[in-house]
Amino acid sequence: MFMDVKKINKLFDEELVVINMGLDAFGDNLKKEQVRVLLMNWKPPAGGNKKLISLLEKLDK
């Protein structure tokens, strides 16, 4: 299996810039370690309405 892991090795050499989607605690912990992190106030898309979510999925494509 051919694996191109260049981007992973690139990550190892970069500064982490993180988006935290979900539990705030995980983002706060990164802040304590001086990591640049953007905390989200994630809400289920389209208010959790399954029909609208599938509409949005089509939008994504």
Partner: protein, 288 residues
């Protein structure tokens, strides 16, 4: 509302305004008060009072048949104060050739560098955008002499610095000039005044610009989309009124000064475009 039906998403939220990006790439702003209005805005103070607090970037919106659905709220464009209507131009007395030169002087005094001010200000810092625009405008003017219309203005679409590229602001100014003169010509008093000065507005060909909207970014696209249809940002309307009503240099400089404080070079670039249009028309008349 001429926006096609489609999906949208809230892209940014500010205390008095927020922007929704239509799937075609246009930015519609919902504003709490009229002074915040941009190229394409809905003035909906009541919405702000009740719903704004719950609206967040990423929230989906739907445009359909003259209505905007957002957060369970339905905004009817017909009923809301949409920045759609053209300005009332009756107060604008017209543009005597002499007024044009005072406008130019005021721009030289108050205009901001960095964009296309160099088109009229030879000692302003020249930059590659001015060079490019200057070449394009020379060609445009040569053609205008023959065709009596302004063609290929689309060469400036997407040109230059700024979140809204300078070229787009310039074009907005040109279109503003055409709009003002057309409206003036439509009123008896204005028509008389123009006839006295033998001013016939140069027509600006818009077709090529419509075709070039994708050559610029969302902000520029929105500005062009609106101004091509005769809808201008609040600050430009105010500028046109101020400039049209100014008799003396100080009054003109004040009006210009207010306009150029908009954005970084947006106001300056738009007024340079406006001036270009007026001068082109005046010179054209002189030649006929």
């Amino acid at each position: 509302m001429r926006l096609f039906s489609g999906e949208g998403k809230v892209v940014s939220v500010y205390p008095k305004a927020f922007n929704i990006r239509h799937q075609d790439g246009l930015l519609v702003s919902l504003v709490e008060d009229a002074t915040q209005m941009s190229a394409l805005s809905l003035h909906v103070p009541s919405f702000f009072r009740s719903r704004k607090a719950e609206t967040e970037a990423g929230a989906p919106a739907w445009f359909e048949k003259g209505r905007l659905l957002l957060n369970g709220f339905c905004i009817d464009f017909a009923a809301s104060d949409l920045w759609e209507s053209g300005p009332a131009w009756e107060r604008v007395p017209g543009f005597l050739p002499s007024r044009i030169s005072i406008l130019e002087e005021a721009l030289l005094l108050r205009g901001r560098r960095g964009g296309l001010l160099g088109l009229i200000h030879s000692s302003a810092e020249q930059n590659p955008f001015v060079d490019r625009a200057s070449q394009a405008l020379r060609r445009i003017l040569n053609k205008a002499r023959k065709d009596s219309s302004i063609e290929d203005l689309s060469q400036l679409v997407g040109l230059g610095p700024g979140l809204t590229p300078s070229g787009d602001d310039f074009i907005a100014g040109v279109l503003l000039g055409e709009e003002i003169l057309s409206v003036l010509a439509a009123s008896p008093k204005g028509a008389r005044s123009m006839a006295q000065q033998a001013i016939i507005p140069l027509k600006v060909n818009k077709r090529d610009m419509w075709e070039c909207l994708s050559r610029t970014n969302d902000a520029g696209k929105t500005l062009l989309f609106q101004t091509l249809q005769g809808h201008f940002p609040c600050y430009l309307i105010e500028a046109a009124k101020g400039v049209g009503g100014a008799e003396k240099l100080e009054e003109m400089a004040d009006a210009v000064g207010r306009a150029v404080s908009h954005g970084e070079t947006s106001g300056t670039d738009a007024l340079v475009g406006f001036l270009f249009y007026l001068k082109a028309t005046a010179n054209h008349q002189r030649r006929q």
